[in-house]
């Protein structure tokens, strides 16, 4: 069983949802970014998604675009992200997922990337712009290296397409809460339960919901219906705002702790739906 699967299993035993946090590798800079990974893990993040910055992040809103550009300007590369992952794995057992557009993986070499990711303790990878029709090579390489292949399911996906996507997914299924780009929103979309239900009808894998989730109350609401909640832009925006502050680490810790509190005891123990 993969580290990600074990994580969801253990949380389900406790009746907790998973708090999944997203950070941009190298944001605000390489050194702080390594420390923030540890901070997030220690503050209660159950799974960490680490974004490999890409010049043209099609699925991201302005907050993550700016963070990605800053990280790139400061020299972050896929090879350095893999080094960060190895350093993190040496220090903590928290599941780590890399998230990126496909081109950096393609350029790195699909097999080589899967091999290095697996060897460095990366548990899963999300290639946001890789549709299942084109994913064969990547999925084979990832399986061979015991790296989970996590795919996004959009709210507009018809049932046959949901099936096609979840059949390739391991680790968890990433349910995109609404159409559009990443970024904090005030409210969750109204039919989230229906959406999660449509995915659950096709898979036994854990379902995590992301895009637009920014507050502890959102996390709690999401964890009532799904197995986990992903918070990205709210955290990245805090890091961007506080990057010069000596209190950066403690502010991040505080936010992650608040978000984590939203996941506790919201699911009936031992029951996963």
């Amino acid at each position: 069983m993969s580290r990600i699967a074990r994580c969801f299993e253990a949380l389900a035993q406790e009746g907790d949802g998973a708090l999944i946090v997203f950070l941009v590798a190298g944001h605000p800079d390489a050194e702080s970014s390594c420390e923030l990974l540890l901070t997030a893990a220690d503050a209660g993040a159950d799974i960490i998604e680490l974004g490999i910055p890409f010049s043209d992040p099609l699925a991201d809103g302005p907050v993550i675009q700016v963070a990605s550009q800053r990280a790139l300007a400061r020299g972050m590369t896929p090879a350095r992200v893999l080094d960060m992952a190895a350093a993190f794995r040496g220090a903590r057992d928290t599941p780590l997922v890399l998230m990126t557009c496909y081109n950096p993986i393609w350029q790195f070499g699909v097999e080589r990337f899967a091999g290095e990711a697996g060897a460095r303790g990366v548990d899963g990878v999300i290639a946001t712009d890789l549709p299942p029709e084109e994913a064969g090579e990547w999925v084979r390489a990832a399986r061979a290296n015991r790296v989970d292949t996590i795919f996004l399911v959009a709210p507009t996906s018809p049932v046959p397409r949901v099936k096609k996507v979840v059949d390739l997914a391991t680790g968890f299924v990433y349910c995109v809460s609404r159409m559009g780009v990443t970024g904090a929103r005030d409210q969750l979309p109204p039919d989230l339960a229906g959406l999660v239900g449509r995915i659950r009808a096709q898979t036994d894998r854990p379902v995590a919901v992301g895009f637009g989730i920014s507050r502890p109350a959102h996390v709690a609401e999401v964890c009532h219906i799904a197995d986990g909640a992903v918070v990205g832009s709210a955290l990245v925006s805090l890091i961007e705002r506080e990057q010069e502050s000596v209190g950066l680490g403690s502010k991040v810790r505080e936010l992650v702790e608040q978000l984590k509190a939203g996941t506790r005891g919201v699911r009936p123990a031992n029951v996963r739906r």
Partner: protein, 374 residues
């Protein structure tokens, strides 16, 4: 993916519907002004001293470029899909103007995404779009050119696809756009073929067209693919391929994935997309339609690059010798054709797709010529 799959399914059904094709044909004839002429350049041919140079006059189509062929086709599709609003990206502004034009024609809303750098250098087209009733949205992210306008347009479309049709302007990007745009632009090659047979009683030896995303080139090439005709696509070498400041994805790029297509792109060794440069905003794109990458890989077509300076010289030559001001994009193809013609025998025929007219570029040309050392 769902919005793309919906467009693909709608296009597949429209393509086979005689009513759709009939309506498209009548708009192309009565509104776009097709067929556009095929013109023999007597003085330019004499000046080059070799092969005969013909121009396919897409610059004479309504709105001044080939872009309207595709815009009319996709707008009819959008209407068929029940969408009330169009959105598009634009680089040189020609596709933005074409989209704003069909939005006016069909009474649809229209949002055009354009990089800040392009808004500056294509001010005339920005004003034309606004006069046509379009909302021009200045994109300030990334390199502030065409690729960033495409990024932003896709981001917005993902959230608005239920009401808005994304009228993509070139034969690149995700499926079905490369195929659909090629089909709507192939009218250029079909007409040119007939016209050339009427003029000369035979097909041309060479086809030459500029390539940014590659829609005018694939539109000209496609109906000739099975014939014994050489095809040359001309990319933007900008300040010179050796300077790195260019937009020559096929001649100087490598395989990669951008905007939902696996094709040749300009990128760093780490797979980050490079910023590009061309005097012609419409060529200033770090990718290219996947079918061109395929034609290059199979050797069926060849691709070369012409610098900003080469394009400017060709602009001046065509203007002075024939009284035709080409768009700076098309001037790249003219430059290549002039060079090739000079080395070919007089009985050879070179057919250039003059994909757009140069009015939009006059302010930029004035600025560049003023800076040019004498």
């Amino acid at each position: 993916m769902a919005p793309l799959l919906e467009v693909a399914a709608a296009y597949e059904s429209a393509r086979q519907d005689p009513d759709f094709q009939g309506e498209l044909t009548s708009y192309l004839r009565d509104y776009v002004g097709r067929p556009t002429p095929l013109y023999f350049c007597r003085r330019l041919t004499e000046c080059c001293g070799g092969a005969k140079i013909y121009l396919k006059r897409e610059d004479l189509a309504h709105t001044g470029s080939h872009k309207l062929n595709n815009a009319v086709g996709q707008a009819l599709l959008a209407r068929r899909m029940g969408r009330a609003k169009l959105m598009a990206e634009t680089g040189a502004g020609q596709h933005g103007v074409a989209t704003a034009t069909v939005a006016a024609l069909f009474g649809m809303g229209c949002d055009i995404y354009m990089g800040e750098e392009d808004v500056r250098r294509q001010a005339l087209n920005v004003y034309r779009m606004r006069l046509l009733g379009a909302n021009v949205i200045t994109v300030t992210s990334g390199s502030r050119t065409l690729k960033d306008a495409i990024n932003e347009a896709f981001r917005v479309w993902m959230a608005t696809a239920e009401t808005t049709y994304y009228l993509f302007g070139t034969a690149a990007g995700p499926h079905p756009y490369p195929t659909m745009v090629r089909e709507f632009q192939s009218v250029v090659g079909r007409e040119a073929r007939e016209q050339m047979l009427a003029h000369e009683g035979r097909l041309p030896d060479y086809l030459v067209a500029c390539v940014g995303g590659g829609s005018n080139a694939i539109g000209l090439f496609h109906p000739f693919l099975e014939e014994d005709v050489h095809m040359v696509g001309v990319e933007a070498a900008g300040r010179g391929l050796e300077t790195g400041e260019h937009a020559a994805s096929l001649t100087a790029g490598s395989e990669g994935v951008l905007h939902g297509a696996r094709t040749k792109i300009l990128q760093t060794p780490e797979g980050q997309i490079r910023t590009t440069h061309s005097i012609a905003a419409g060529l200033d794109y770090p990718g290219v339609g996947p079918e061109h990458a395929y034609l290059q890989a199979t050797g069926r077509a060849s691709y070369v690059a012409v610098t900003d300076a080469g394009a400017l010289e060709a602009f001046e030559a065509l203007t002075r010798l024939e009284g035709i001001m080409p768009a700076l994009e098309s001037a790249h193809a003219v430059a290549q054709a002039m060079e090739m013609a000079a080395g070919l025998p007089p009985e050879a025929i070179v057919l250039v797709n003059l994909s757009g007219r140069g009015d939009k570029d006059i302010a930029e040309i004035e600025r560049v010529l003023a800076e040019r050392p004498r």
